[in-house]
């Protein structure tokens, strides 16, 4: 047993492992870059980096083909830490190396935390429109809302992944069970033909519209349109099977148990205790040309308690930073009447800066220490009496 543990320790602290992992890391980046032509930037991040194992479909069989970014980065982190614990003894002569390694460790941890914690949303506002939520770029949610009350809505949000897994959901706030009968990650919607295209839906819009599955797109300028057939199962009269899709313009309304409900599939929302109103979007061009000069959004930021009620101007390289979120000017639409802001939350955004600063200081310190030692040695050599 002790031998196995010792072997494991030797393996984890070995320099050969470091070199092997660095080579694997380079190969990973190279292969992922090539694969980017097929999957796009988001696709390769998911397939190659934000995973422990890279899987590849080979003639219909999903096979592991390479260690993923989390595996290589994680093992590199363990290797660095283990090597320090096992071998490293702090001396002032090696202070620079120590600092550089601490920086490298922080960089790896920062990347890991960014992968785990960073959230990207977008906020789309028409002029005059107010919103207190942003929407995810790719994550979607099935939303079942009790809209009976005149003043508020009670929302139950079910992540799309549960639909994909066909996981039945029984929530205390719902008088029925939610079960996905079919889920398409990408689809198009078509009107049912008069002769009656087969459909799983038994109620709502799905009696008139059908979802046709499509291959998933990874292109940066295209979006998938997921759809699902969702059954609501109650002990007595079940509401039925609905077609839900991000392509449908509004949720579908139905009555059950003496209350009014809405059901729909939409981009995942993140609600905030403040609201933003687009006062004006400006798209300035150089005089006499169509060449863009500046995009800017005049936004009114309001909190319900009145602590904040101010206007801010968001433009390129001048984002709004508020309550842990950063709002960047990202795009526009609707003939310059709609602004699109990218909303980013990354609690570990400072770590890469700290890591790089530590590594820079470490390398400089190490160079300086060596320089001083070299100069002292040289002086000593020069001042030594010549031997006859």
């Amino acid at each position: 047993m002790k031998t196995i543990l010792r072997d494991l320790r030797d393996f984890l602290v070995s320099l050969q492992l470091t070199v092997a992992l660095l080579v694997f890391g380079m190969l990973l980046v190279f292969a992922a870059t090539l694969d980017q032509t097929n999957l796009g930037i988001w696709g390769i991040q998911q397939k190659w980096f934000h995973t422990f194992i890279v899987w590849q479909d080979v003639r219909g069989v999903n096979l592991p083909i390479f260690p993923g970014g989390y595996f290589i980065g994680g093992l590199l982190l363990i290797n660095l830490l283990a090597a320090h614990i096992e071998r490293f003894k702090f001396t002032w002569r090696k202070a620079g190396i120590f600092l550089t390694h601490v920086g490298l460790i922080l960089l790896l941890i920062g990347e890991l935390l960014s992968g785990l914690w960073q959230e990207d949303f977008h906020l789309r506002l028409n002029e005059g429109e107010t919103r207190n939520y942003a929407e995810a770029f790719r994550d979607n949610e099935l939303v079942v809302t009790d809209v009976t009350d005149e003043k508020f809505d009670d929302v139950v949000a079910i992540p799309e992944i549960l639909l994909a897994r066909h996981t039945p959901v029984q929530h205390p706030r719902l008088p029925f069970r939610v079960v996905a009968k079919a889920h398409y990650p990408n689809s198009i919607l078509q009107m049912r033909k008069p002769d009656g295209t087969p459909t799983l839906a038994t109620t709502g819009l799905g009696r008139e519209v059908v979802a046709v599955p499509q291959p998933i797109t990874y292109k940066t300028d295209e979006a998938n349109m997921p759809s699902a057939y969702v059954e609501l199962i109650a002990p007595d009269a079940s509401p039925g099977i609905f077609l839900v899709s991000t392509g449908l313009v509004a949720p579908q309304r139905f009555d059950y148990g003496g209350r009014t409900w809405k059901i729909g599939l939409r981009a995942k929302r993140i609600y905030k205790p403040y609201s933003l109103t687009l006062v004006k979007f400006s798209h300035d061009r150089y005089a006499g040309t169509e060449i863009p000069k500046n995009f800017s959004s005049r936004i009114k930021l309001t909190t319900p308690d009145g602590r904040d009620d101010r206007e801010v101007l968001v433009y390129m390289n001048n984002p709004l930073r508020y309550a842990g979120l950063t709002f960047y000017q990202s795009g526009f639409a609707n003939n310059d009447r709609t602004t699109i802001l990218q909303v980013v939350r990354n609690p570990s955004w400072l770590l890469p800066y700290v890591a790089c600063a530590l590594m820079t200081v470490g390398l400089c310190a190490q160079f300086f220490i060596h320089l001083v030692a070299f100069v002292q040695k040289r002086r000593a050599k020069l001042s030594a009496p010549a031997v006859a």
């Binding site: 785990l116 003043k151 809505d153 198009i188 940066t220 059950y256 709609t338």
Partner: protein
């Protein structure tokens, strides 16, 4: 000159770091069902049969499609947009008399044309990925909405007027309802652009839409690629 730092301290710190990483990894889950209460929100309303309670009898599709209205136009297939959050798109210049209105769910553009006596026509601009079934399917869908019978592939060349403006090839149809009791008209233009089809659809009372046809065609000629 050698200073040895407290190794147990480093070990404990490292163990703590590794434990944190492990916990973070184990806690990395996006599968939680959440519930919350929000202030009342307005959604784009779907037309009658689409918003009807599930336990009521369905409205016949024929009736739905033969009575286009601004509300219906916001919910039919041509108004079901691609949720492209950003990326290249098309821009246009609408006549000043056209009243821009909120995009609702995810229209690319949305206008009201107001005629005599307050009659209103709805112009929707939407986009779908791919060919969306092709010209024939799209035209037949619009024909169905004004109670016209579908056409065949052979009739397709004569069914649509085609022109190119600003490098974009448009197919335009002018479809008047065959139902004298409900004189509606659809002016529909479509153009493929960057792997999607963009639809420009004017729906409303026959007389109002017919009168707006020259302005609609001029409007299509202002459509061009958005400068990034």
């Amino acid at each position: 000159m050698t200073t040895v730092l407290c190794l147990p301290f480093i070990r404990r710190t490292t163990a703590g770091l590794l434990l944190t990483v492990a916990l973070l990894l184990s806690g990395c889950s996006k599968t939680e069902v959440t519930s919350y209460r929000v202030a009342k929100e307005k959604d784009t309303e779907l037309p009658g049969s689409m918003t009807a309670p599930a336990n009521t009898s369905p409205t016949p599709p024929e009736k739905l499609t033969s009575t286009p209205s601004p509300a219906a136009a916001g919910a039919d297939m041509a108004a079901t947009p691609v949720p492209t959050a950003s990326g290249p798109g098309l821009t246009w210049t609408a006549p000043a008399a056209w009243r821009a209105k909120p995009l609702g769910a995810m229209r690319k553009g949305s206008f009201d044309l107001v005629g005599e006596g307050g009659a209103t026509a709805d112009l929707s601009i939407t986009a779908f990925p791919g060919a969306v079934g092709g010209d024939l399917a799209n035209i037949n869908r619009w024909r169905g909405q004004v109670a016209l019978p579908p056409i065949t592939e052979a009739e397709l060349p004569k069914a649509a007027e085609r022109f190119t403006a600003n490098g974009l090839g448009f197919a335009v149809v002018d479809l008047a309802s065959a139902d004298p009791a409900n004189p509606q008209r659809i002016l529909g233009g479509m153009t493929p652009y960057q792997g999607a089809v963009w639809f420009f659809k004017l729906t409303g009372p026959d007389a109002l839409v017919a009168k707006a046809k020259p302005a609609f065609l001029d409007f299509l000629k202002t459509v061009k690629t958005a400068t990034p």
